[in-house]
């Protein structure tokens, strides 16, 4: 089996955790930090770091609010993030077709 040619693909998405975050957010409109942590199965610190990278790339937007005086961060994909994810999946499919 051929391996990924990562020169052709998006480095921001090409990480297990960031890819998992993007996959969760593409299937639902909005998710809070705890939901993402449970779906991605990682630690708070790790998730924060990867979410920050996605935010810096403009792929993910965050909406911070308070519910019962507790801070809640809700994350969603931006248009740029959605497009990047689509291109990423397209690359994967093309790789499979070439095999």
């Amino acid at each position: 089996m051929k391996e990924f040619d990562y020169h052709q693909i998006d480095d921001v998405i090409h990480s297990r955790i960031r890819l998992a975050i993007m996959s969760v957010l593409i299937s639902i409109d909005e998710a809070d930090f705890i939901f993402l942590r449970e779906k991605v199965k990682t630690t708070d610190g790790n998730l924060s770091t990867h979410l920050k990278k996605l935010e810096d790339a403009g792929y993910v937007a965050v909406n911070k609010s308070f519910v019962n005086r507790k801070p809640i961060s809700r994350y969603m994909l931006t248009q740029k993030g959605r497009k990047a994810f689509e291109i990423y999946v397209e690359h994967l499919e093309n790789l499979i077709k070439k095999k």
Binding site: M1, K2, E3, F4, Y6, D11, H14, S15, R16, L19, A20, S23, V24, I26, S27, I28, D29, E30, A31, D32, I34, F35, E38, K39, V40, V67, R74, V89, L92, E93, L95, I96
Partner: protein
Amino acid sequence: METIDAQQELVFIKKIMTDSRKSAICNGKAFILWGILVTIGLLVTYFSIINHNLSVMNWLWPSLIGLGWIITIVMESKAAIKSRTKTFAAKILAYVWIGSGIAMTIIGFVGSVSGAFSGLYINPLISNILAVGFLITGVLYGKTWVSLISLGWWVGAIVMFLWTGLYTFLLMSAMMILFLVIPGVFMFKQYKKELIAE
């Protein structure tokens, strides 16, 4: 950077997407609430007609429907704030039921007050709207048994259109319990189970 096989990567994406979509979009609470309120209304209406005491009708339905809307708005607003996710399917579902609720309220009040149709036709008309609601809910919820409930509502509507009479209040009450309250309880249990699983 780790290199991952493309095929495995796609499988990974698909699995995460499927898992995320599983988050419950309907907790069934509104079905239980409306089912109980309307059943009370139908039974009181039936017995007040039998006992020739129609004065109760002046306050019964406005109180029940008003109470239903107030509780629903409070309940759903709280749920929306507490909800950990927002999905397109949940949004569509909410609008389907808000629209259906408004349509049923108009049929129940404006229709009967204006005299556009006999009060006996309110039940089959509402039954038709509930059938459409359940059909869409089943598809969005991903449960065939929920969609199949619409058949019960449609069959009931046909029966009540063809054979009008006071008995339709009792039939509609039974349908409310069978096709609204009981499915609501099942959905609520499912919702609780999924919350624990998360």
